[in-house]
Every structure is written in C-alpha cells, then in structure tokens.
C-alpha cells in the first residue's frame, strides 16, 4: 500500500472515529476532551494557512479568535442574531481587521514579524479590556437559556457541540485543502521558501499574504464563536491572550507545520498532554502539572522538531513518488 493510500485510509478512519466517538463513549469528560481537541485542531488548522503555508509566524492570532467570539456574542446579545449568522459576521470582521493589521506588519520579516504580532495581540487585548461596550475586563456572558439549534446553546448533551466542532473543523480543513489545491496555495509556499524568487515570477507578496491572513483569521474567528457558545463567557484574558495565540502555533508545530492534517494530530496530542497532566497532577497544588506539561513539550520539540508528520515521513519514507505520472503534452520547442 503506498503512503498516499495509507494516509487516506487513516484519515477516513480518523474521521469515522471522530464522528462515532460521542455515540460510543458516553462519559461527558471524554466527550468534552474530544470537543476540546476538535476546537484546538480547528484553531491550529486556521493558523496554519498563514503561519504554516505562507510561513508568516503570527503569535497574535488570539486577536482574531477573540474578534469572532466578541462579534457574534455582541450581535446575539444586542440584536438577538443567531450565532450561526454571527459566526460569519465575526469571520468577516476579523478578516477585515486582519487586513488592517497585516498590511503594515507584512513589511516585517521572520522574528520581527512574530514579535510585531505579539504586540498587536497585546494591544487588542488591552483595548478590549478597557472597552465598556464589550464588557471591559469582565467580558460578556451569554444566557444559559434558551437552548437549541438557533441560539447554539445546548444543555447537557455534548453531541451538538461535538458535531458543530467537527463540522467547523472539516469546513476549515476543506478551505485549507482548496487553498492548497489552487494557485494561492502554491504561491504561499513559494513565498515561504523564496520570497524574492516568488516576486520575480509575478507573485505579489503583500497581496497573497493578505489573502492568507484574511482566510486564516476569518476561520480562527469562527472558532471563537464556537468557544463563546460553548463556554458562554468570553473575557479578554481567555479569548485574547498571547498564551492562546501561542497555543495555536504549538499544535501546528507539534503535528507538522504547513501540512493539512498536522495541526489536527498536534491538537489531539497537545490536548491529551494538557488534560492528562492537569487531571493527573493538578490537584496537588505543587505545580507538578506544569512540570509534566513543560517537560513533554520540550522533549517533543527537541527530539521531533518537524512534528509528528515529520517523524512519520522519516520513519516511513515514501517508496514511490506520491504524484501521479505526468500526462504527455504537446511539445512547443524543439527537442533537445
């Protein structure tokens, strides 16, 4: 079995597992962990468009995640708009915001860009923190009732949240896949590898980086809406923090930067480590959970810097070229 076929089989199996999981496993804790994994994966996949494919390492993506959360929540609280619509409104606002932020920041490269995005994220957090309309430091709360499909609030059953999170992840993956299959995806990878060469081939760096950040932030914002609907409380500290931004990049790195499914794998792994170390050691009050969590991250980063997918590629090198044989095409020039 070639690696491509094997990969597809595993992906289908994973999808099946994700779809059936909450029906088979009825423990709310495990169901909840699965939802967290899906949500974190969605963030990582969204982040990956800009940080992975285009190679622009953003450490301020929580600003967009938070924008999505705040926009849909505000629309729901003020105008009774269903979060289903609010989710897209939030994505739109976040994408617009990302263009305003991206345009100046894309003058910067490498570490300079990463640092600037941290600064932007912190500014957004500080501004929202002092913005009364958005509840300031207290944040905004959504009511527990009414529940149901349109208000996107569900009471005890975890199933709706699970399938919304799964759907959103699949949607994000689909967008990601479409990007990689279009010229935009090729351009982004070209920009990441050799920006000057890309320009010489007619690729406008600013334009395609802006495409990437708009898509990436819009999708991250949709995740923000889901967060708001699940936790029913959003505040600057939990939806706009740099820690959250870093987490988005962490899952991508852990799984494999610039790959379609890398962030998903990373999210499953990181969430598992996080939850297990906290559940296992958190109650001691001695910081053991942080020691375990930190240590595991360092070990993975040091011993597997290219992520889980990188490890798989090393371990199981492709035996045959993955791409299909080239179709014959008419020759324009003279044969050599």
């Amino acid at each position: 079995m070639s690696r491509a076929v094997l990969g597809r089989t595993i992906a289908l199996a994973a999808l099946g597992l994700a779809a059936l999981f909450p029906l088979v496993v009825t423990s709310a804790t495990w169901q909840n962990t699965a939802i967290l994994m899906l949500m974190v994966a969605q963030m990582g996949v969204a982040w990956n468009i800009l940080g992975g494919y285009a190679g622009q390492v953003s450490l301020g993506h929580a600003a967009f995640f938070g924008t999505g959360a705040y926009v849909s929540t505000l629309l729901a609280l003020r105008f009774g708009l269903t979060p289903w619509a609010g989710m897209f409104a939030g994505a739109g606002v976040a994408a617009a915001l990302s263009l305003v932020i991206g345009w100046p920041c894309f003058r910067l490269k490498g570490h300079y860009f990463a640092m600037a995005t941290i600064a932007v994220g912190e500014i957004v957090q500080a501004v929202v923190n002092g913005w009364d309309l958005l509840g300031g430091a207290v944040g905004l709360s959504l009511p527990l009732h009414p529940t149901g499909f349109w208000p996107m609030v569900f009471n005890r059953s975890k199933l709706p949240y699970h399938y919304i999170a799964l759907g959103l992840l699949l949607f994000t993956l689909l967008v990601n896949w479409l990007v990689t299959r279009s010229h935009v995806g090729y351009y982004l990878r070209a920009i990441k590898d050799e920006p000057d060469a890309a320009r010489s081939l007619g690729v406008s760096l600013t334009r395609y980086k802006l495409y990437a950040i708009a898509l990436s932030s819009g999708l991250a914002a949709m995740g923000g809406t889901l967060y708001a609907q699940k936790e029913l409380l959003i505040d600057p500290g939990s939806t706009l923090s740099t820690g959250l931004s870093i987490k988005m990049s962490l899952v991508a790195i852990m799984g494999g930067v610039g790959t379609l499914t890398g962030p998903v794998i990373g999210a499953v792994l990181l969430t598992a480590i996080e939850e297990a170390s906290r559940m296992g050691f958190g109650g001691t009050g001695r910081g053991t959970d942080m020691v375990v969590y930190g240590l595991l991250i360092v070990l993975i980063a040091v011993y597997q810097p290219s992520g889980v997918l990188g490890w798989i590629k090393q371990r199981f090198p492709a035996s045959a070229p993955a791409a299909p044989p080239a179709p014959a095409s008419p020759v324009e020039g003279a044969a050599p």
Binding site: V138, G139, A276, R278, G287
Partner: protein, 417 residues
C-alpha cells in the same frame, strides 16, 4: 521518555477515568487556582477546605463547631467527607471542563470553588446544566447571584456590600472624630476584580457626596506603578480606595514611600493587602493601612471558637487564617451542614437542604449573622468588617462596637516609623 514517567502518566490518565470513591464517602469537588500567579492563594484555600473536612471526619470534638469530631456525617450514618481538589489554572474554560469532570467522573455530591469570579461563572454554569449544587465561598462579583441559577449558592457577601461597608465606615468615622473627607481617589487593577470594585466605589462615593478626584486603572502584571502614583499625588486625595493583588500592593506601597505620597488614609479592598505575605514584606511601612475584610483574628476575643480554629490551622500550616481561607473553611461547613440534613447525596436533596440552611452566628468562625440563602442563592446574613494594621497586626475597627479598636487617622508620615 523514562518508562516510569510514562507509566505514571498512564496511571494518571486511567486514574482519572476510573469511577471514584468507596460508596460510603461523600465526595465534594473543590476547585481553586493551584498554578499560575494566584496559586499561592489557591493553596491556602485548599488547605483550609481540607482542614474543615478533616475536622468533620475526625473524632476530636474540642472545637465548638457543628459536626466537628463526629467521625463523619451523622445524617449519612457517619459517611466521611472526601474532597477532590482540582486546578482550574485561572481559566474559565478549564473551570468548566473540570467542573464537568468532577460531576460526571468523580460523581461529586457538590462543588465548592473557584475564587476567580470568571471561573466561578463558567464552572457554576456547568453545575447548573447538570443540576449539581455549586457553593461559592469566595468570589465577590455582584453578578454571580443575579443569573437566576437554581443550583448556585454563595456564602460570602458580594462587592456591593463591601463597598457599602467602606462608606458606612467613613460616615461613622467622620461623625465620631468630627472630621470631614472631601476628596477620594480610586486605584484599581484593570481586571474584572479591580474594575468591578472601582465602578461601585465611584458610584457610592458620588452618592455620598465625595469628590472623586482620580480613578486610575492600571494594567495587571506590570513592572512599576510610578506613573499611577504620580497621578495620584497630583490629584491630592484625602482617601485612596485601592484594589490590588499582592505584587501590586507591595509595589504600590513602596512607590508611595519612595515618591513621598501620603494620603490621609488608604482604604484597601482586601486581596493583596490582606495576604499573609503583605505585612511580612512591608514591615512597619504596612502599618495603619485600612482594609475591608470578612475575618480577623482579634474577633476571637468575643468569639473564642475563632481563636481555637485558628490555632489548629496555624499548627498545621504555620500561618494564621485570613479572610480567604476562613471563608473556604466555612464553605465546607455550610456544605456539610446541608448534606448532613439532606441525609443523602442526591443533588436535589442537597439543594433542598441548602435552600433551607439556617446556620447561626455561633456555628461559624465568621463575624456573620449566620448563613441563610435568599432566592438567588446569596447568603443574607453575611457581613463585612473593616480592619486596620496596627503594630503589625490586623485589628477590627468597624463595626464600631465593643471590641473594635480606635482608628489611627490620618496616616503617619513614612519617615520615622
């Protein structure tokens, strides 16, 4: 990865998955911030809650509080209280996740937590969804008991009462000493805790006819407070109302001294100013700070059980109770009382018992009228006190009755202390 390490992690994961508890125990989930910048407080709260459970499970009856020394809950044939502590890391999302785990995996009868108002909010939401009683002993955000929840109970008074107390105190003091306060300034951390208090303080100051000459919100986790103190100095307030956690409380006091800022009085909003570490660090410079509180050791003069409980706590952990730990201690007693009367660990029965709670003042180590919940789950009989640091100790100065010390007013100069 070392094998033992992997094994222990695996054990932890499996351990979390296994159904909890010998059937006889009454399991209560307790959630506090056990890592992060509030971990120090979280640990104190954990210790106090555990002590309460141990006293109830033990057989030593020398402490004159209900249920103590009964070897468990008599209403459940001597079932022991078992507390499961979880770390919510100060994150509302983790709070909700952990509450759910406590309810569904550990099958807790009730939950107590979570110190941070934001985490209390999401965690109690989860409890509400599942129909499990959530007792909050230490979050003072007013909104928590305005959500119309059926399963949420709060023993501590909230911010509005505390702020009211502070202004009642000022009024009483003006009357008693024949002085007049005109200008007040507000300094608060720009977080949920600080801004909430600042808003109320501003409102009450205006209602009471004081002039608010400055309202300064500073970002948390800062490195210096120089600009804030300069601004305060320029505003020349008589009284400064301050809401800060420990690091900023220490930093601000030092900056006051360095920059020579001396208001007539400093009225702190609990938190950092009442932390065990505060006076140790500030030494004489911490003297004469006034703060709102819910507990003080000198209350033991009128209520010996306070001193007795404190002795036990101090013997175990080396420090005195403070307002936070005393409230966590009391929270467990309130839960135990209700579960004992319910005679069952069924949530509905416990909730009914909580609604019917009527603990008297003598059954608590708090200076409260007792514990009795209103229709929103708020304790009607809670009360605040005002303490002042005098000679390195917190002494009660309000309510001004028997046992209350006289207030040192104004603040003496920094030099020559």
């Amino acid at each position: 990865m070392p094998v033992t390490f992997r094994a222990s992690l695996l054990a932890a994961i499996l351990g979390a998955a296994l159904p909890a508890a010998a059937a006889d125990d009454v399991v209560i989930g307790v959630m506090y911030p056990l890592t992060g910048s509030a971990a120090s407080t979280g640990l104190e709260l954990k210790n106090a809650a555990q002590l309460a459970a141990d006293l109830i499970n033990g057989t030593d009856k020398s402490l004159a509080l209900p249920l103590v020394g009964g070897g468990g809950l008599p209403g459940l044939k001597g079932a022991k209280l078992r507390l499961i502590f979880v770390d919510h890391q100060g994150s509302p999302q983790v709070g909700a996740t952990e509450a759910e785990r406590l309810i569904t995996q550990e099958k807790v009868a009730a939950i107590q937590g979570a110190y941070f108002s934001s985490v209390t909010q999401t965690a109690s939401q989860t409890a509400e969804r599942y129909g499990v009683p959530f007792l909050n002993a230490d979050s003072s955000s007013v909104g928590l008991t305005q959500r119309g929840f059926k399963w949420f109970f709060r023993t501590t008074p909230h911010d509005e009462l505390f702020v009211q107390n502070a202004f009642d105190f000022l009024r009483d003091l003006e009357k008693k000493k024949g002085i007049k306060v005109h200008r007040v300034a507000i300094l608060a951390e720009n977080t949920e805790f600080g801004t909430g208090a600042a808003r109320l303080q501003e409102k009450y100051a205006k209602e009471n006819g004081y002039e608010v000459v400055a309202k300064i919100l500073y970002p948390p986790k800062g490195t210096q407070l120089t600009s804030e103190v300069q601004k305060l100095k320029a505003a020349r307030p008589d009284v400064v109302f301050q809401s800060s956690y420990l690091a900023d409380a220490i930093l601000s006091m030092r900056t006051y001294k360095d920059l020579g800022f001396l208001p007539t009085a400093l009225l702190a909003n609990d938190a950092g100013f009442n932390d065990s570490e505060f006076l140790k660090t500030m030494g004489k410079d911490g003297n004469d700070v006034i703060s709102r509180e819910v507990w003080a050791l000198d209350l033991a003069a009128q209520k010996p059980v306070i001193g007795k409980a404190n002795d036990i706590y101090k013997a175990r952990h080396g420090v005195n109770f403070n307002g936070n730990s005393a409230r966590a201690f009391t929270g467990i007693f309130a839960l135990a009382d209700a579960i004992n009367r319910a005679g069952s660990t069924k949530p509905e029965a416990i909730r009914a018992a909580l609604k019917a709670t009527n603990m008297g003042a003598d059954q608590l180590i708090m200076p409260w009228g007792g514990i009795q919940f209103d229709e929103n789950g708020q304790n009607k009989k809670g009360a605040g006190i005002i303490v002042q640091v005098q000679d390195g100790k917190y002494v009660t100065v309000w309510p001004m009755g028997p046992g209350a010390k006289d207030v040192v007013w104004p603040l003496p100069a920094w030099e020559g202390r």
